[in-house]
């Protein structure tokens, strides 16, 4: 059957050829804006899904330094950080933006950053700079606070709760929805708030009371806000969200409104401050440009772009806030404090204890 097998072999050769071509196509598909050394004219910024900026702002940087800025997004903060950790030493980008104070210690421990002493740090309040070695530089912050449905309380002539203590009072039974700290960043922030306020010894007791007061726990912010929160069709008028949510509600209203449908509880250390940092990735071949980018992020143009793009606050006090923020944001007088080191050390244990207390 010589010829028969010959034909089969021919067919096989074709298949092998096809694979080869396929792989070749894959490999060469885009000889590519290779992000690292070869073309110093590209700066690669690693970041998370929520990063946003205006076209014009980025274009300004690009034209000023004659570079192309490429953004590498990789899921949530955790995933993006994992990505940076995996590529340690041979970084996928030049700078990493988006690590927050809950992950800061871990990122520093993993030694993914190089220190950079930006001159612009002088303009920024010192309490934002959590790493004295200046490996991670603060860019923005947001406060995770309890939001409430204004109409709900107004209608019932009920005072919105003023602080965490109020939440366990009988009149607020069955009104609160929070997120699972294991899987949600605001959920973790709220857990840290209770730890900051009641201490490591007291927070579980507080949560027990919350459970008795019929707190509802969901896994993610989206479900809490868009399914359970009474403003968006749910039944719970108090939700863990951000202090910037009310201006967002105004900006993204279906029909123009004069005031947001939601309010924020800001008193009694009931908020937790998330600060986001940027740093030069260790091993970058673009150190110079990376520094320029960081300076740019800390400078006014970018800082002023932050609120309406990412709905967080610029750390640079020189930056002017947009009107909606000025009108509708109430800054918490004092936030709950938990140090990044403590978070890094106890995160798993706290979450586990919380899970045992609240979910079982």
């Amino acid at each position: 059957m010589g010829k028969f097998s010959q034909l089969v072999r021919d067919m096989a050769k074709r298949i092998v050829l096809l694979v080869a071509v396929m792989l070749l196509v894959v490999a060469c598909a885009q000889p590519a804006p290779s992000p690292t050394p070869a073309q110093p004219s590209t700066l690669t910024v690693m970041t998370h899904d929520s990063f946003a900026a205006s076209e014009g702002v980025i274009a300004a940087f690009e034209s000023q330094y004659g570079v192309k800025v490429q953004f590498l997004k990789a899921g949530d903060v955790g995933s993006a950080l994992n990505k940076a950790i995996l590529a340690k030493g041979n970084p996928l980008g030049d700078v990493f933006y988006g690590v927050d104070n809950t992950f800061l210690s871990r990122a520093l421990r993993e030694e993914i950053f190089e220190p950079y002493d930006s001159l612009l740090l002088k303009e920024i309040p010192a309490d934002f700079l959590l790493d004295p070695q200046k490996r991670a530089l603060p860019v923005d912050y947001g406060d995770v606070c309890l939001n409430y449905d204004r109409a709900y309380f107004a209608e019932r002539g009920l005072q919105p709760p003023r602080n965490l203590d109020d939440l366990v009072a009988p009149e607020y039974k069955g009104l609160l929805v929070v997120q699972n700290p294991a899987l949600s960043s605001p959920g973790l922030a709220f857990l840290l708030t209770t730890i900051g306020v009641y201490g490591e010894d007291g927070y579980l007791d507080y949560w027990k009371k919350l459970v008795e007061n019929d707190v509802k726990v969901v896994n993610d912010w989206e479900t809490a806000y868009y399914t359970e929160f009474s403003v968006h069709g749910g039944t719970r008028p108090i939700v863990v969200s951000y202090s910037s949510s009310p201006p967002a509600e105004v900006i993204f209203a279906e029909t123009p409104v004069d005031e947001p449908p939601t309010g924020v509880i800001t008193e009694g250390r009931s908020c937790f401050r998330q600060i986001e940092f940027v740093g030069v990735l260790k091993g970058t071949k673009n150190r110079n440009l990376a520094e320029k980018w960081i300076d740019f992020m800390l400078d006014r143009t970018f800082q002023e772009d932050i609120p309406l793009q990412m709905f967080v606050f610029p750390v640079n006090p020189m930056a002017k806030l947009p009107e909606e923020f000025v009108r509708f944001v109430v800054m918490p007088t004092e936030t709950a404090q938990v140090s990044p080191e403590a978070i890094d050390q106890n995160r798993e244990a706290w979450i586990q204890a919380w899970t045992e207390t609240v979910l079982r």
Partner: protein, 352 residues
């Protein structure tokens, strides 16, 4: 040799010998029947010729060239399968056109040829029918049309009429022979039905247990079966043990039924076959057989008589007349030496 030659071809499947040193020839334009009981290796032989399987040993030649290593699709043979294997995803037209399209014939040619063969098998107008909607006979004819459409050098038909009833079978067998003759088609016709084989074929190759038993024209085989197996396969049942001896310078066949002169035969033990039409009533010569009639079947111009003799039963065809005995009668038959065939060295017939 200008046709197909099989030379000592053997084939085993997992240590079971299916064909053992099979040799035969098929001349160009000849219609040869491979006849034998099921499991005798007929279909395997076809598979070997078609190139679907390879022989373990031996050679197959087509017009003097060995077929070893030529894949089935390059042999230009046709094979009509017993189970027809009509492609279920194609309609009648496309089934018949299948082989033509593979030869890259232009569309008009394909259409013309399909029309031609469909006409040949009496299926004009069936082009668009779905094969699943055809009757058994129609499917068979589509399969035949598909096999002959590319004008194969050699056409093989594996039990093509197996599932049809007797009357249809007889009619189609005759039609088939006419058709093949008309096309001057070299063909191998596999069947287990001797009547069908005799009707269709120029020559018959009788196979048993992977071996060729006898090759010859239908007449040769019918008149002088070369082994008890062949005789029995052809439906003959009257066997007795016997021995040829020499006495007084003459050869005699000695059987339990008596002895007859049996000229020009070497001595030896064996089995004697008495042809069913070789018996006469009332003539007292040759072997005498006296027994009770256990069954009488009317067969048109003949009567089939079953005769009980001791433990044995014999079957004879007698001309129908008023003298014909009835069931229960005792009958004395004379068996002419001309109707006796002696198989030397066959001691028993394991085939019963």
């Amino acid at each position: 040799m200008d046709g197909l030659v099989l030379q000592r071809v053997s084939k085993s499947f997992e240590a079971k010998k299916v064909l053992e040193e099979v040799s035969f020839e098929v001349g160009l334009g000849e219609i040869v029947a491979l006849l034998g009981p099921s499991g005798c290796g007929k279909s395997t032989t076809l598979g070997l010729i078609a190139g679907l399987i390879e022989p373990d040993s031996g050679e197959i030649y087509w017009r003097g060239n060995s077929l070893r290593g030529i894949p089935p699709h390059q042999r230009h043979f046709g094979l009509m399968f017993q189970d027809l294997a009509l492609f279920p995803h194609l309609n009648v037209f496309e089934n018949v056109a299948f082989g033509l399209r593979l030869r890259r014939q232009p569309q008009t040619e394909v259409r013309k040829r399909v029309k031609e063969v469909l006409q040949l098998v009496n299926l004009t107008g069936f082009e668009d029918r779905d094969v699943a909607t055809l009757s058994g006979g129609e499917m068979q004819r589509v399969a035949l049309a598909r096999a002959i459409a590319p004008q194969p050098q050699l056409l093989m038909l594996d039990e093509p009429l197996a599932s049809l009833d007797r009357i249809l079978k007889d009619r189609l067998a005759v039609e088939l022979r006419q058709l093949l003759r008309q096309m001057n088609q070299t063909a191998i016709y596999v069947t287990h039905d001797q009547e069908e084989a005799f009707m269709v074929a120029d020559r018959v190759i009788l196979m048993n247990q992977g071996k060729v038993e006898q090759i010859g024209t239908p007449q040769e085989i019918f008149c002088s079966p070369s082994t008890p197996f062949v005789a029995e396969f052809l439906g003959m049942k009257n066997f007795v043990e016997g021995e040829v001896i020499y006495e007084d310078g003459e050869s005699w066949l000695v059987t339990p039924l008596g002895r007859i002169r049996f000229p020009n035969q070497p001595a030896g033990k064996g089995i004697a076959l008495i042809r069913p039409e070789g018996a006469t009533v009332d003539v007292h010569e040759g072997l005498q057989l006296m027994g009770r009639v256990t069954q009488k079947l009317f067969r048109g111009d003949h009567c089939q008589i079953e005769l009980q003799w001791g433990e044995k039963r014999f079957s004879f065809l007698l001309p129908c007349s008023q003298k014909t005995p009835n069931e229960g009668d005792t009958l004395c038959l004379s068996l002419s030496p001309r109707s006796v065939i002696f198989f030397r060295n066959h001691t028993s017939h394991s085939f019963t």
